[in-house]
Amino acid sequence: MSTIPLDYETLRLIWWLLLGILLTGFAIMGGRDLGVGALLPFAARTDAERRVLLNVVGPTWEGNQVWLILGGGAIFAAFPPLYAVSFSGFYLAMIVILLALILRPVGFKFRSKIKDDRWRATWDWVLFVGGFVPALIFGVAVGNVLLGAPFHLDDTMRAFYTGNFFMLLTPFALLCGLVSLGMIVTQGAAVIAGRTTGPLAERARTYGSLAGIVTILLFALAGVWIAFGIDGYAITSAVDGNAAINPLGKSVTLTRGGWLANYELYPWMIAGPVLGFAGLAGAVIGLQARLRLVTLLASSVAIAGIVATAGLSLFPFLLPSSTVPEASLTLWDASSSHLTLFIMLLVTVFFLPIILLYTAFVFRVMRGTVSTQSLEKNPNAY
């Protein structure tokens, strides 16, 4: 449409970036709460300590989770075929994630409302699973995207998925899951170390440093595996970034180590993995040196770097197909219409800065350490 001031190709690229930003936003912000959840039984030993942890993230976790809702909404609005294929294809994995996402809000809200050891122990376990499982599965999902998913499309764009749940749990995908878990645990530890004192903070430093170092090793291992162990996808036909979507109109080849091709083509992309490693190292150093703010910043940078590494390696693919590579979804052939992308961009450019502003305000109001000594009486505390 000639009245739209940005061409279709540019908008598709912008939306790919925005999607990356939203998912990174979730990994950083939601990662705080998932990480604290995954550390709950280890970092906090007594009921009082656990309540401290829950009240560290309690006032802000709901807002953080909206990054995920927004990420899902953005995939639906900007890349509907990706939303259609991935959410239905990974059906049972989605159910497992939903289990965690359903139990987490109620876990936070219900746990401390009744003073009973078994009741609270049960919800502690639920909150642990609610943090641990999504942190792992989101990484497993990324691993499967890198491997390609077994799906194809018919001429009416109906998707057919030929895999099953257990096929998702391959060694490489599980490795990606562990990288994701490791970075999120590091983030959780950074939050705990930053907002508590005493033994809680000490334990967080220990676990966080351990998680950071292990994640560095796993992230490097994943890089080696991508270079020598799995195939990357590449489009071999001409790409018209302004054409109407048609995921079936291209040819695709697979080559060993092909996911690294982008780094030769665009050397600046190396910034992704570099930030990943540097951020993790910075978080470990920050934890040891007790630099609270540095730790949190470094661990957030690590998450951004690791998420970016996955996205940049895949570019321009969104979801490759392992069974019919030509049906792979890319940002050029699986987007919304030109008009929808443009309208959604306007809305996002308007609202995203406002969201960042009030999020910053909320965190500012709720700043400060939480401790067992600081008793107060609020019937709504977690």
């Binding site: 709901e62 909404g73 239905s88 409302k113 009416t156 609020n378 709504n380």
Partner: protein
């Protein structure tokens, strides 16, 4: 061919999870606004009882809100999980309002809800009041965008089918936003939420008065609930009528089914209060009718006709035949994009493509359908008449009942007769489930009444489902039923506990001992490390 068992199970799952989600949503919408009103009174008058009331209802609100959040994520994901062809086919239009809901509404609500609970001693009075209003605003905006999305499913304006991409695409976003169906449904739905919140606060307050507990708080809450509830109940009915009216423009079949009107009535049509289905479950064998009222409600005139089911089915046959032409032209365009002739034919018939797709249930090559199959597909356009007929009467009856109920209490409140009649207080307490019955009936009418379409006239429901396997659905459906049942029991148990414990006002009071068992042990301290921005 499409696996109809998977389609049926997917429908059950979506219906169950959506109706379950909507147990919590109206209460969130209603309570958030009423909390904001009560806190406004507190800030204006400085009287402690209002802050106490805000906190108490806020605690119940919090438990309910957690359930709403937990079940809301499921709604967003399920379109892709269970209705993947729908997601592809209409995602270009339908995805946008969902994403905007997150950007504009849910983010606002979810970010400030933490400050509502934890910001009492960290914000000024006016600052906290602003937070409460922002939460309420977020809840209401949320409903707006969801109903814009749903309104488009009922009345798909501002969009067109693109044969090159095989999907509906936005042509006029403003038309999608200002869809008259969406606007009417929005006001109707939030008003219903306000009624729900008002009945909830009113009923619990009645219980307090019967027991002689927390009298001051209960009486003040009742005054707010009665006046707010009366205004909202009037709005629900008046704007519900608006929903009925606009539905006649776009969804004549839904109205005909709700009225069980099998034959076109000469204008002005009567309104049926009560009817008994005929022997074959079809046209009523006995009915009590009020002359003229049906025509007035649905067409707002005395001379416009209200078409009956039989006539609409006949009309559907014409559209199916036109849809077959569109389908064949589409096949030609897909085979050869430069086929100008096929494009011209498609341009003329595309609006009936959805009717052509109704035949997909009976054969793959839609263009060769027999007369019998066409007749069958046309008959499929009739939704279940009698369930709609009765749920509509239940919803409407309750709508009028709430007006009377709140009018009575509004009058009694103005005379200072709040606690004088114990049986009446008990009676009012036991009315607690009624708003949910009305609201769930309303959604049933909206969604079941739209069948066999998932998007009216555009996409049949059975054609929109994912290609999942029977066992996928068995696993997920049993998962949802089990988990949701357990959570509902726990939630009700906790609410009863909170209500029994009554208002807690320890947040500001000096230490009174740790007697109540959900009083907090550890909480945010004073900002010790001010340099921390985390």
């Amino acid at each position: 061919m499409i696996d109809m068992t998977v389609v049926e199970l997917s429908r059950w799952q979506f219906a169950a999870t959506a109706m379950y989600h909507f147990i919590f949503v109206p209460l969130t919408i209603g309570l958030s606004v009423m909390m904001a009103i009560m806190e406004s009174v507190y800030v204006m008058t400085g009287r402690e009882v209002w802050r106490k009331a805000t906190l108490f209802w806020g605690t119940l609100f919090g438990v309910n809100f957690a359930m709403g959040v937990a079940t809301g994520v499921v709604m967003e994901f399920q379109f892709g999980m269970n209705w993947s062809y729908y997601s592809h086919y209409v995602g270009d239009v339908f995805g946008a309002p969902l994403a905007i809901e997150g950007l504009m509404a849910f983010f606002l609500e979810a970010s400030f809800i933490g400050l509502f609970f934890f910001g009492w001693d960290r914000l000024s009075k006016v600052g906290h009041l602003a937070v409460t209003w922002l939460v309420a605003l977020g809840a209401n905006f949320s409903a707006l965008w969801i109903l814009i999305a749903n309104g488009w499913m009922q009345n798909p304006v501002g969009s067109k089918f693109n044969p090159d991409t095989m999907r509906m695409e936005v042509t006029d976003f403003v038309a999608v936003l200002f869809n008259p169906v969406a606007q009417a449904k929005f006001v109707h739905t939030v008003s219903a939420g306000y009624v729900c919140g008002a009945v909830f606060i009113f009923a619990v307050s009645c219980l307090f008065l019967v027991r002689g507990k927390h009298v001051e708080l209960a009486k003040r809450s009742m005054v707010v609930a009665a006046s707010f509830g009366l205004a909202s109940a009037l709005s629900v009915v008046v704007l519900g009528d608006e929903s009925g009216y606009v539905a006649t423009e776009h969804q004549k079949m839904k109205i005909a089914a709700m009225e069980a009107s099998y034959h076109t009535e000469p204008a002005p049509a009567p309104w049926t209060i009560f009817a008994i289905p005929g022997a074959d479950g079809g046209a009523p064998s006995f009915s009590i009718q009020v002359p003229w009222v049906g025509g007035l409600i649905t067409t707002r005139s005395l001379n416009e006709e209200l078409p009956g089911i039989d006539e609409l089915v006949e009309h559907a046959q014409t559209r199916i035949r036109s849809g077959m032409v569109a389908y064949d032209a589409l096949q030609d365009i897909r085979a050869d994009g430069s086929n100008a002739e096929a494009r011209a034919v498609f341009e003329e018939h595309w609006a009936d493509l959805g009717y052509g797709l109704l035949l997909k249930r009976y054969r793959e090559d839609v263009g060769n359908a027999t007369d019998a199959e066409i007749a069958q597909a046309a008959a499929d356009t009739v939704p279940g008449v009698w369930p709609l007929f009765w749920t509509f009467r239940i919803m409407m009856g309750l709508g009028f009942f709430f007006i009377g109920f709140f009018a009575l209490w509004f009058y009694r409140a103005s005379r200072g007769w709040l606690e004088t009649n114990k049986p009446l207080l008990w009676f009012s307490f036991f009315l607690l489930p009624l708003p949910w019955i009305a609201i769930e009936s309303g959604w049933f009418i909206a969604e079941f009444g739209r069948q066999p379409w998932v998007v009216e006239g555009v996409l049949p429901t059975f054609y929109a489902a994912s290609g999942l396997h029977f066992w996928d659905l068995v696993i997920s459906l049993s998962f949802f039923v089990t988990l949701y049942s357990i959570l509902l029991v726990i939630m009700i148990m906790l609410m009863v506990k909170i209500i029994k414990a009554g208002p807690q006002d320890k947040l500001f009071a000096e230490d009174e001992g740790d007697d109540a068992d959900f009083v907090v042990a550890a909480l945010p301290a004073t900002p010790a490390n001010k340099e921390l921005g985390s």
